[in-house]
Symmetry: C2
Subunit: 161 residues, 2 copies
Amino acid sequence: MDRPTLISDKWRAGYAAERLAEFTARCRARGLAITPQRVAVMRVLVNSGDHPRAEAVFAKVRREYPNISLATVHRTLETLCAIGEARKVTPLHDSARYDGNTAPHHHVVCVRCRKIRDIEMPEFSDLLHGRQTLGGFQLLGCSVEVHALCRECRSAAAKEA
Amino acid sequence: MDRPTLISDKWRAGYAAERLAEFTARCRARGLAITPQRVAVMRVLVNSGDHPRAEAVFAKVRREYPNISLATVHRTLETLCAIGEARKVTPLHDSARYDGNTAPHHHVVCVRCRKIRDIEMPEFSDLLHGRQTLGGFQLLGCSVEVHALCRECRSAAAKEA
DNA sequence: TAGCGGATGATAATAATTATCATCCACGAT
DNA sequence: ATCGTGGATGATAATTATTATCATCCGCTA
């Protein structure tokens, strides 16, 4: 049914071990200091089967480094995203965005400037209508959000690099 | 190219007019008072081509009702969502969620409890790999977020109703 | 038209995140 | 191995988004 669509924990565990082994090397290559706090945050994140918020990472890292600051966890997570070692699941966490269009449709979101556009993409619906569930989730009333880069941000990002 | 995937503004305009005409009737049917503020928020939202945050709706409504409170706008938008006259584009706006898995994959999100699961769904990638852009958005590095209801929340929601 | 109950406006409270800044420590040079 | 420096951290304040509180107001039914 929907087993095969779930990414197995077994696979994640192996993946985590591999990622951690390379982490210090990657930091060094990017000129980032290897601090115990940074490594701890990375380890906790990469070992998480769920998709934790800063607070949750903080709680776990704290068990090993009782003096770590929540601000450091926030900073570190953002750093990890910036260097490509992690990513935010959603770029739209800052403030709620509302849509008056209740007809079924989907969205593309620019991960940089957070612009949103409605899209007509029957392919998604076709794809999903074929299934009742997805990883145990009931697909009734689902909507798809595609994360991408808008035209402006694409050129802007190119200039930065 | 990607024109056909965009929902046209022309269509939206017609849709907005239709929605507004039925709004008061729907409020009445649900036992909600028809206040000028409520109608104004609904009108601004449904006329918005973009996907505004509360602050943006507030700014527009304020031009007509200078005394309206930002809290009222927040409340009204949530009410509209609750009765199905609008929806939040993302259910994950409250706090940022991080993912240590940088391998390309997608997510299902429970719109009720905000649980997130990684999903392996090559169909999405196949669908998107065929296109370079989507509504002017560059699809490199995109990720898909499917909004749905998890098993627990589905039964919980069923009880409520 | 009266009056009840929901809706609103003003404001305080809460939650998440970011900014500030003094201290600290990882790391390359010595 | 030691030193000096710049980035990293911890403590804290500030900001931003949102929700709660509560007295007043007004849409709606009788």
